[in-house]
Symmetry: C2
Subunit: 639 residues, 2 copies
């Protein structure tokens, strides 16, 4: 053991200060790189200088209509009853749109306004005004006119106009080349079969895509083990040929985090450690006048630090100005506590319920990559803020279009795999309609519904007195007309390792094994408590009763991983991970909602999905579900 | 002459009906094409099916911190004053973040919470809770969990998560291949030197870029002359190998518009002629079960029809859902008259003046490609509407970010080439700040300023009584404190063809040549009228007095093109097109604005640009300008 090697002391530089110091330093060493390319290949490139037209467009006075070119003088006096007859070649020329109009002709008469006569002459009923239906030379573009300014991102229409103005080649900023080095002895390539202790290297591929999205040209290198000399050689070589270098991970203060030492040796480390969460261990360095950035390994840290520190540098290199972020105000659904030590980026789901945007925080861990996949946006808790209360307004930077959010059914409540099936089928059957589901347990869902943060709450709450599911809770909790869309009947049971090595037969056996429970308010936990009471077992007798997992799948994963022996859950979760399953009862998993939400278009689509053949087929394939009543609506009267 | 060949009769199908009929017909013949590709290369591709994780992430219970792995049991009772001493190997293992935590260990203590002792043992002051700082297997991703739904556009974070979940290959929709055929005997390639009657072919390159932006793979063919058999052979061959075919132009009813006949012969023409402006002559056909679209040749028609008819088909093929359009409400600055015969797409500049968005219509011609380059968005005049009055609200679909519009100085008024210089320098010197200028003449600009549609009005209006420029007009027109930012002194004169073949010496000579005038309200026209009065010449004595051009450059172009002999304008316009110039006087070209606008950040930047060295240098290079007072501010008191 050699804990002394750890670089325990990262600085805690505020985000803005870190960005400003680094960008200022870079601005003084970086020069824009320019190249000349064909206009036809210049889509989305950035102009270096203003571009001026070489030719006029049109290049000459041109017919604006199909018809005949005439001298306006010869048409004078034409009117209904006193037509003027024009003779071919002598008085007029047939022209198509775009044909040149040359002296003596100075006007065009549209084909629709002519009467052709047998002898080849034409008769007109109205005079032609000088220059009518003639596009004058340079009407659209005059030679010498500025077509595009400097530092302009070229669009398709710009390509058309440049070519029309006689410009075939254009000076644009070079796309920066970015070397990406995945590092770490424990990482493996995605194609390799993982063994315990291996981590599948995926950040570098994500970075590649992010570099591409910001107009850089990424080169991803094969993983480098935690070997000081190998990494140093690779970085030293890369700063010779690339415009920018990214090293991931090894940016922190662990025993094998060499990056900062290497960068200090090769160049200058401006920042090591930023007051940002997730993501504190960031290295911002300059080596050989090139930006070299060390990013942390946790995927969310890596992503958020890339957005905050790599993208501004890429923009400096590409000349692209930052894309406007769609910032909206939403009401926070859950209290967020944060530390004064850092600025925190919290991923949120955003839903629109009764004209109010609601932001529901997702998992905040640095490793929770799925939180970024699921996120509709993020909100920032400033460094000088200890947190934000539920119900307070927050600014959310949206990843999605507001329009999509408008067409999304917001479901908060109990988790079941059928929610995945529905959210997959929604946009397939009803383009641009979505289901967004957050898993807070049955009771958590009903409370969210009550606060106006969700459209529907998936719920399976057993009323101990009546033995009836869900309805009693709706009567008790709500003081408005509610409805229950019947979902599925499903089997609850005990999930155990394959082959059931501990011979678990039922609830009483749970006292002799390591259990993993669900969170408070989850219907499955309510059911367990009910069953324990029936068996006269106290929670204290269950080892692991306090250990909580948030979903059926998380319970299944813990058992498959061996850190727990048993947990309650549904058959489909056991099937998904190849576990054994001891049924303990049937329950009703339904969707609660205020009656008036049944009218919403997206809720109607949700209902249609529930009743669709595609849904039935996919749910039957999961196993353990009854679909007899699916889609039926029960109305629950106010008490 | 053979006017009988014209297909005079296009239908006038409403836009929505045309879209619906065509897309419905296509939906019944098109099937999604799928291919399997590496996840690492899948950025922005569209998933075909939902994707489920193969592995958990983390793959095992893993240390969430750098520190030591311990059995929580052995740490019980540790507290300040009564530390627990742990022995290496026996009681703990040193772990870095991400290392597996295996039995008997069930918790991690952070390095920061340890005291290392000389003998290699460590001392702790607090017990470890079971599973503290351990990321449980599957915390982020559980095997079997849905990672991405069907028809999802893959983002960088999705690539990271897919790879972490063990997915290395993915089924995505194929990118459609699109054949683009430029046609026409008169068109030439951009590299060729144009002769009179030639049209530089640029639409196909614009289409290429538009296809790319919508995830298709374009193949642009060399231009095909207006030859029935050649075009027929090319299309027949293309529908064998490509997913879609675009023919441009020849879609109308001219003598050489063969496309519709060919498509009727090869397949089915569903629509020929849509009630849209610009762009009526559109052909929507299906040949060999492939979409074949004929688009008109005018660049704006081509662009707007591409947006309305090609993009929806591309989306059908790619599986991409339409990107949300940023729709805002703005006040129309100028009356728009339209016909009941069609839906019209009017390009507009959008400015924000005193918290009000103002939409100013740009040139409406089908050939006005620069109107699309300059546009900030467009508004739609419905087919059943005869027009919209000035001051009425209109919906504008924005091409630009609202944030950019917020940082834009809106200038409406007289035209001068120095406005191009400023609009080029603004974003260069002040990133994300812009100048938007619309040319309505000096008086038009002052009126726009009065109506609150502009921040500043470039103006050069001579007060005949005092001989002083601009100030008298501000006093007369405005009832609020105004300011005048001094712009440039410039030479006005008569532009004539190179070598001055007609020996024009001054204003009296204008009675014997073809003149081209500026529009009513233009300062240059005011000056001409003043000079004519001095010479006792009436406007009726000037041939072409009624022929109006909107800018100095348009006047210069008409003279260069030979359709006029002389026109009044500025030296820089003569220089730009190599014309001769007969000076007639100096004038002051300034910027009028309400005093309080001087405070606006973007106006401050505008002032800084005026005073910059870069501006002086570029203006001096144009020639004909005095910069003595540039940037000085005159305050004009209310009367």
């Amino acid at each position: 053991m050699n804990m002394k090697k750890r670089n325990l002391y990262l600085s805690n530089t505020p985000v803005d200060e870190a960005q400003n110091r680094y960008l200022s330093a870079l601005k003084s060493v970086l020069k824009p790189q320019v190249e000349e390319i064909p206009v036809a290949d210049s889509l989305h490139r950035i102009t270096h200088h203003a571009v001026f037209a070489k030719y006029c467009s049109p290049l000459y006075n041109a017919a604006a209509m199909d018809g005949i070119a005439v001298c306006s003088d010869t048409t004078k006096g034409a009117r209904e009853g006193a037509p003027v007859i024009l003779h071919p070649q002598q008085d007029f020329l047939v022209v198509d749109t775009g044909d040149p109009i040359k002296p003596p002709y100075d006007a065009v008469i549209m084909a629709e306004d002519l009467t052709e006569l047998e002898d080849g002459t034409v008769s007109i009923m109205a005079p032609a005004a000088p220059w009518q239906h003639v596009r004058p030379i340079g009407e659209d573009i005059v030679a010498g006119e500025m077509l595009l300014p400097s530092f302009h991102k070229i669009r398709p229409i710009d390509i058309g106009v440049l070519l029309s103005g006689g410009i075939t080649h254009i000076s644009v900023l070079k796309q920066p080349t970015v070397a990406i080095f995945p590092t770490g002895t424990e990482i493996i390539e995605p194609e390799q079969e993982p063994k315990e202790g291996d981590i599948i290297e995926s950040n570098s591929r994500m970075f590649q895509a992010m570099v591409q999205e910001h107009s850089g040209i990424p080169t991803r290198f094969s993983p480098i083990a935690d070997d000081y000399e190998a990494l140093k050689t690779a970085i030293a070589k890369a700063v010779e040929t690339f415009d920018m270098v990214i090293v991931n991970a090894g940016s922190s203060a662990g025993t094998e985090d060499y990056t900062v030492h290497i960068l200090r040796e090769l160049g200058e480390v401006l920042i090591h450690g930023v007051a940002i969460k997730p993501g504190k261990p960031v290295i911002l360095a300059i080596v050989n006048n090139k930006p070299v950035i060390g990013l942390p390994g946790y995927p969310v840290s890596a992503y958020i630090n890339f957005e905050n520190f790599v993208i501004p540098v890429l923009q400096l290199l590409t000349g692209e100005t930052s894309c406007a972020v769609n910032q909206v105000e939403a009401v926070l659904s859950k209290r967020l506590v944060s530390s004064l030590k850092h600025r925190e980026y919290v991923r949120v789901k955003v839903g629109k319920v009764e004209d109010k945007l609601v932001a529901s925080p997702l998992a905040r861990g640095a490793g929770a990559a799925m939180s970024l996949v699921r996120a509709d946006g993020f909100c920032v808790i400033p460094q000088n803020c200890e947190g934000i209360e539920a119900g307070e307004p927050v600014q959310v930077a949206l990843y999605r279009d507001l329009q999509e959010i408008d067409h999304t059914v917001v479901a908060i409540g109990s988790h079941d795999l059928i929610l995945d099936v529905i959210s997959d089928l929604m946009p397939t059957l009803f383009p641009q309609n979505f289901l967004s589901s957050t898993h807070l347990g049955s009771m958590g869902g009903l409370m969210a519904l009550k606060r106006g943060e969700a459209h529907i709450a998936p719920t399976h709450l057993l009323d101990e007195e009546t033995g009836v599911y869900n309805i009693a809770y709706l009567k008790k909790l709500f003081h408005r007309p509610m409805a229950l869309i019947k979902g599925v009947n499903r089997v609850q049971g005990i999930l155990v390792q394959k082959g059931n090595p501990l011979h678990i037969q039922g609830i009483p056996d749970l006292t002799r094994v390591q259990y993993i429970n669900r969170q408070r308010g989850a219907g499955t936990r309510v059911l367990l408590d009910y069953l324990l009471k029936q068996e006269k077992i106290s929670p204290g007798q269950i080892q692991g009763y306090q250990r909580e997992a948030a979903t059926h799948m998380a319970v299944a994963a813990a058992i498959q991983g061996g850190s727990a022996d048993a947990g309650m859950g549904i058959l489909s979760a056991a099937n998904a991970l190849g576990l054994d399953f001891i049924p303990v009862g049937n329950e009703e998993y339904d969707f609660a909602l205020p009656v008036e939400y049944l009218e919403l278009e997206q809720v109607q689509h949700f209902l249609s999905v529930l009743k669709s053949d595609a849904f039935r087929k996919k749910v039957q394939a999961l196993g353990g579900y009854g679909l007899e009543q699916t889609g039926t609506i029960l109305y629950v009267d106010e008490v």
